[in-house]
Amino acid sequence: MAAAESAASGAPLVVTGRALRQGLERALQRLAEQRGHINELNVFPVPDGDTGTNMHLTLEAAWLEVSQLPVEASVSALTRAAAHGSLMGARGNSGVILSQVLRGWSACSQERESLDAEGLSEALAEGSRVAYLAVKRPVEGTILSVARDAARAARKSLDQGDDLTRLAEAVVAEAWAAVERTRDQMDVLREAGVVDAGGFGLAVILTAIAERLTGQLPGKVELEPEGRGEGATKPTIVGLRGAAAAVAPKGGFGYCTEFALVGAQLGAIEIRSQLGDDAEDDSALVVGEPGLLHVHLHTKEPWELLARASKLGQIERLKVEDMTAQHHQAQERSGSPAPAPAALPLGVVTVAQGAGFRELLVGLGAAAVVEGGQGQNPSTEEILQGIEVSGAEEVLVLPNNANLVLGAEQAAGICGRESAVIPSRNLPQGIAALLAFDPEAPLEVNRYRMERAMEGVHAIEVTRAVRDSQLGDRQVHQGALIGVLDGQLVSCGSEINQVVLEAMGELPEGSVEVVTLYRGADVETDASEGLERAIRARFPGLEVERHDGGQALYQFIISAE
């Protein structure tokens, strides 16, 4: 169905109110379908909530007003209704900007029954201009740059003497190219590997309207962006690259299916409707003339699709690719080898033994964790390697062991970059120091804050005596459990709970609010739970937290702060 008034040649001359109305309806439908994709583009960290939902609700508000008008309403009346509706129903930044784009269209369409190519070009330009006015400090790489570049493409196309169809195609092609460019225009997008959600939403809207004007998806959309990855501008692919990329949808991604359909009697729109639901999907392309059509779409059942297509014409140059397998390969590729660490301005290099501790330290922001600890001290060279591996330009070293402070200072002294050692004598001190670390503050500020944060943190370490010794007037036998508080032997016995509680009794009165238990590799979870209960019973009011440290030799390392 041709939505615009057509001359005998088939090329529409003007955009009528009816065509625009159908375009807007189609755009609303497209946005509803793409809402989820667009929301996913808002990857963490996101500038605002749900762009897809917001844009859809905004356009829906526009549509509610438009749909009140008679079908023969002029472009002027229609854009005015759309602008008003969207203004009242605008949600989120992208919604407000969209409402301003529509307001610009409306301002430019006043008293006009329809828009010719020039009128459409002017409306797009005005939409862009008004949208820019709504933003105090316009930023490149957003919905604004997509609006502007699309308008410029329209002008250029017009100046070349293109007709309305060509102009609409140029607008859509440039809109998607601009969407793709947003990836490189904003740091947050580049880091997340996605395009701007608002810009994407606007491109979806422009595409849907253009599709109604030209009677088909403009051919240029199917072009691969030059020098880019496969189909980077296509909705589904972009979605896969977003935050949702880690999880394949139930049933997989299906098959990317592409073929030429030769000798069919029908046009693209009719073929599309006869190929089934998958052909109605947003990423689906059915373009060309009757007799030679190009089909490119994603389906979970390519065999069904091909069976239907073979009834309509002859299938040639068939290509079917399993996207689920591609997705897995892509994930494997990105999983190994490990990406080179990005250059950090300031990083913390620390030392720990035990998988649990390593994980905790990385979770708290350590740039590198050197393996080692009590009885297994890493060499200066190993610490130096840790500093190298961190990729940080300036380094703070947390040795987390009294025996390693000097080695760490040595390594820091020869590492050839700005560095300092925070002399943490145990892991609880190291963790407290790391909690105070602010990657954006200068090294000296961090040094001061981290050293302060270590004060008032006590460490109780529970291990077995390696030889006979004396605790006051008590004999400590080799192999007995001992409790060491801040480097001093304070308790001994045959039971972990008793040794810990006795050691905790030595803590300065009223100085402790949170106790964190790090379980050693050789201790059962039950024992850790039992110890937590025993501590809560003896010291009600304390917050107690349990973690797996995974350290050897030490049954428990306990932080009291």
Binding site: P45, D48, G49, A90, L360
Partner: protein
């Protein structure tokens, strides 16, 4: 000539103060599932906390549509001699300033001054109160904006969160991302930067330590012109902080207020904070 002051629902001034000062409030929106609520209009604090507790994720929030501002501005500007000063939540956190600006352009930019408070909650509230006072002295909208210009840089908020989860899910985590504690449970202390974006102050291991830190930090901001205590959920700790603040600043009129549902949905229950306005240089 009258200058009317407009703000939004995130400006956490006590209702009685707003009414006494004739401040007009435009509500932001919250979306629990398909249901939309106007902040503080369709939901009071208690209903909000109940819904938040029952919801799987905190509700998305959105700025008021420009149409709401247009309606308010048109109503307030019926007399051609009158003007409006419209003071709002930091543009770095919400598009509210954008909506207000769009509306102001439509209604009459020469009669409406839209101000980015570059802060939030009671921080915005303290600027609103100052604007009200200037308006009562008969100052013009332009004069009021000029007079207020020093305030954003001297307004601050220090906030102890019970968890980073709400900030994270609300998408306004910004630089605070670096504060995530991994498996370790931590209580983050946050503030707002010069532009109003969220910045980390520190992370502590317990709420008790965090509240003590709030009291310590409050002392460091002296001399203060004004301050207020803000909370989401249980007021007990906020009252404790209020007592400390009264001890530090004897004779000061210190506000205590539950945060609006929109603020609450981004910070989460258990949040406790203070807002301050430093003395004018």
């Amino acid at each position: 000539m009258t200058v009317r002051i407009v703000t939004d629902s995130t400006c956490d001034l006590p209702e009685s103060r707003r009414q006494a000062a004739g401040v007009v409030t435009v509500p932001l929106r919250l979306h629990f599932g398909d249901q939309e609520f106007r902040d503080r209009v369709d939901l009071d604090d208690k209903q909000f906390l109940e819904r938040l507790g029952a919801a799987k994720a905190p509700p998305p929030t959105s700025q008021p549509p420009p149409g709401d501002f247009e309606a308010v501005y048109r109503r307030l500007l019926a007399d051609p001699a009158d003007e409006v000063v419209s003071i709002h939540i930091a543009a770095a956190l919400s598009g509210t300033v954008g909506s207000a600006t769009v509306a102001a352009q439509a209604v009459g930019p020469e009669r409406i001054q839209v101000v980015d408070s570059r802060t939030v909650s009671l921080g915005t509230g303290l600027q609103v109160l100052a604007a009200v006072e200037l308006a009562e002295q008969g100052r013009s909208a332009k004069e009021i904006v000029t007079e207020l210009a020093w305030m954003p840089r001297r307004t601050g908020i220090i906030c102890l969160l019970d968890t980073l989860r709400y900030l994270q899910l609300g998408g306004r985590i910004g630089r605070v991302q670096a504060m995530l504690g991994g498996a370790l449970s931590i209580k983050p202390l946050i503030s707002l930067g010069e532009d109003g974006a969220v910045v980390p102050i520190g992370r502590v291991r317990s709420r008790t330590v965090g509240i003590r830190r709030l009291s310590e930090l409050l002392v460091e901001h002296r001399p203060l012109a004004q301050c207020g205590v803000l909370y989401v959920g249980d007021p007990a700790d906020a009252e404790r902080l209020l007592r400390d603040a009264r001890g530090t600043f004897p004779g000061m009129d210190i506000l205590l207020q539950h945060a609006s549902p929109v603020i609450g949905s981004h910070c989460g229950p258990g949040t406790i904070a203070y807002c301050y306005l430093e003395a004018r240089p």
